[in-house]
Amino acid sequence: MNRSHRTRALAVAAVVVAALVAAGCGSSSSGGGSSASAPGITKTQILIGSHQPLTGPAAPGYSEIAPAANAYFQYVNAHGGIYGRKIKYTYLDDGYDPSKTASVVRQLVLQDSVYAIFNGLGTPTHLAVVKYLNSSKVPDVFVASGCDCWATGYPQTFGWQLDYIREGKILGAYVKQHFAGKKIGFFYQNDEFGLDGIKGLGYEIPSSQVVSKQSYVPTNVNIGPAVAALKASGAQVVVSYSIPAFTALLKLAALKLGWNPTFVVSDVGADPITLAGLLEAFAKKGGATVQGNQLTQGIITDGYLPTLGDGSNSWIALFKKVHDTYDAKAPFDGNVLYGEAVGYTFVQAMLKAGKNPSRADLTKAISGGLPQGPSVAPYDYSATDHGGMMGAYMGVIKNGVIVQQGPVWTTDTTPAGAVTTFSGTQAPAPSSGMP
């Protein structure tokens, strides 16, 4: 017994150490020989990394973004790269779990020695690493999240897409203008995405017009009671901060009740291709057949990138060409457009950062402002503001594509800041396809 106990404990210790040694052998730092101005930069390569939900609940749709960005990087690499260096983009799966994000980002920074973290996806996931990246002085650029939390307080971190507060204000201003005197209902996801959106809406829509606010949690698909309450409130317009699956459920639940209000839906939950597919799939499960594109007809939404259906737009033409060459297996939808556009912005920033950029050169370049590129509205990047896009246009879904209605609007994130028409015009995509 005595000896066996000691041996037992020693066996445990041996197991631990053996495993550690094995783990240590598994990979030594592969940073490589560098004429480096910064970690991750060699004579021939710029290594960047990201955390993405490639599996798990957030994967459908969102898992298309990183391959699409990579497709654009491959296009850039084939056309001379960035001052001769090729971009290598390593994106690891975090399954949308913040603990895993913490782990894979440390792997990218500490072991793979990436130059920067690019387009890390998700608010709760990215919050798990934002302090770490800033204290390690790793550039953390163009976070794939509409939280306005990246705008201030983190010197290394930059947002990119239109944040939910600004988007809410623009949707709200449109509703106030076009549906004056009508009864408005809110339907929103009960987290930072929905709550920020509602906050922005509330800055614009008079509270006397709002007759009902109903929320849902993404884990519970039974939204029948919420929709019934919206109908009972007499709402004529429903503004929805929902992900695509819940936009589809909302539309179907209203249909079931024989209720047909005007829907105004956040950009996040209004991609017509995704929505039509979901509507058909859900209806089929319920034993009904619907025409997805018929049901999405008339949904009002907004967009901060050119509309996919606009084949004459030079940006859409460029990204379609890159998609067809490097990412043809994925559908050319909103997620792919997003990925390619944010990839383009990164290349803009790297070119501006200089021939042999340090890490600080990249953040300095972005803080100095970036040209608009594929975004329909300008960026607010400055030394004090790292938010990203400032505006969007309003649009209506017609025959499965979003058709722009009226001008691009810009605003800020404050309650009092006005929503104004953007007077500038978006430059066309360069014919080379390179910024």
Partner: protein, 364 residues
């Protein structure tokens, strides 16, 4: 005396871990801390299932309680880590007791269902009171290495040290507990609750106690996770965490401490290693991302087919002639025939019956 032996072994293990941590790169140190977190969580679950014969699919929720307790103590009271860990564990122990009182009346699939409910429902409480728990975004804490270690000292190594130390202390305490009268009583109620009750054991109380011990470990693991990742948010404590703990416990070998270490190694290292291999072989990201999940499944199937008693059981079987078989298990060696003869799980089915089968009579 047993305590002294366990302590000596832990000190040896600690020295070896220290030596390893200095050699490893900063990311491997981080993984070392992660492994320590899972060792504690899986050991707690393994004791519950392997010794007391109860099952829990809710230990991920107990980890959430420990993690939130730790984050709140650090944010509002600025407690040092050596105080935060035991306090978080104690708070979770109370929660474990409450759940345990209900759980002791259930068994088998009913107990699994009830604890499953806990795993699903509890983390969403954070969304109900966002002002306290930070909602979806969670609570962020700041962790720094002590200044006297120097400015360039890697934080991950400090995290690895603290977590490894906590894990070793937990293992020593568990090793002693399971070898004590309490451990024997647990085995008695696991094998035959009616007979155990007839000998005067309080079956209900013992079951609650096992739940408390298991929850305490989970709470400590949660606090360690908060200390390691520096963020506590509901997304980290999904049902899949509870399932991963159960998988780790079963893979490693239920009811053994070494098994908990094996289980933790598999849970932490296999996904990273397989992703590295998959991406370095030029697989597309869509395929590479799913390979760890597939590999996890393959490992699980293989271990269950080849070593029904988990990795530890398998090793014992393979090394049967070399090492006395009673090493590294909680089960007393003198309960049955000479242990080396029944080291393979297939030959001692009575010890590893599926949880629940043998409890039916006792609870009706």
């Amino acid at each position: 005396m047993t305590l002294l032996r366990h302590l000596a072994a832990a000190i040896v293990a600690g020295a070896l871990i220290w030596a390893a941590s200095v050699q490893l790169n900063a990311f491997r140190d981080y993984q070392l801390a992660e492994i320590a977190v899972y060792v504690v969580a899986i050991a707690g679950l393994s004791v519950l299932i392997g010794l007391s014969g109860q099952i829990s699919l809710g230990n991920g929720a107990f980890m959430a309680i420990g993690a939130y307790a730790a984050a709140l103590l650090i944010i509002h009271l600025n407690w040092p880590v050596w105080a935060v860990f035991p306090a978080s564990a104690a708070i979770t122990a109370v929660a474990g007791g409450v759940v345990g009182i209900a759980a002791a009346r259930l068994s088998g699939p009913y107990l699994a269902g009830a604890t499953l409910l806990l795993a699903v429902a509890l983390p969403s409480l954070a969304l109900q009171w966002p002002s306290v728990f930070g909602g979806d975004q969670g609570l962020s804490i700041t962790v720094t290495a002590p200044a006297r270690l120097g400015a360039t000292f890697p934080l991950t190594r400090w995290q690895a040290w603290v977590c490894s130390l906590a894990a070793l202390i937990t293992l020593v305490l568990l090793a002693n507990l399971t070898r004590s009268r309490v451990g024997r009583n647990w085995r008695a109620i696991r094998d035959d609750p009616v007979a155990a009750a007839l000998t005067g054991l309080n079956v209900g109380r013992l079951r609650v106690l096992a739940f408390v011990v298991s929850a305490t470990c989970a709470g400590l693991a949660g606090a360690m996770l908060a200390f390691t990742t520096t963020l506590v948010s509901p997304g980290s404590f999904t049902l899949s965490l509870s399932i991963a703990l159960l998988t780790g416990a079963v893979l490693g070998g239920l009811g053994t401490l070494a098994g908990a270490v094996w289980g933790a190694l598999v849970v932490v290292l296999v996904p990273t290693y397989v992703t590295d291999v998959a991406t370095s072989h030029g697989l597309s990201s869509g395929v590479a991302a799913n390979i760890p999940i597939a590999a996890y499944g393959v490992v699980l199937v293989l271990v269950m087919v080849l070593f029904p008693n988990g990795i530890q059981g398998g090793l014992r079987r393979l090394a049967g002639p070399l090492i006395p078989a009673n090493l590294t298990r909680f089960t007393e060696p003198d309960r049955h025939q000479p242990a080396s003869k029944q080291a393979g799980g297939l030959t001692s089915p009575d010890r590893r019956r599926p949880v629940g089968e043998h409890q039916e009579e006792g609870t009706k």
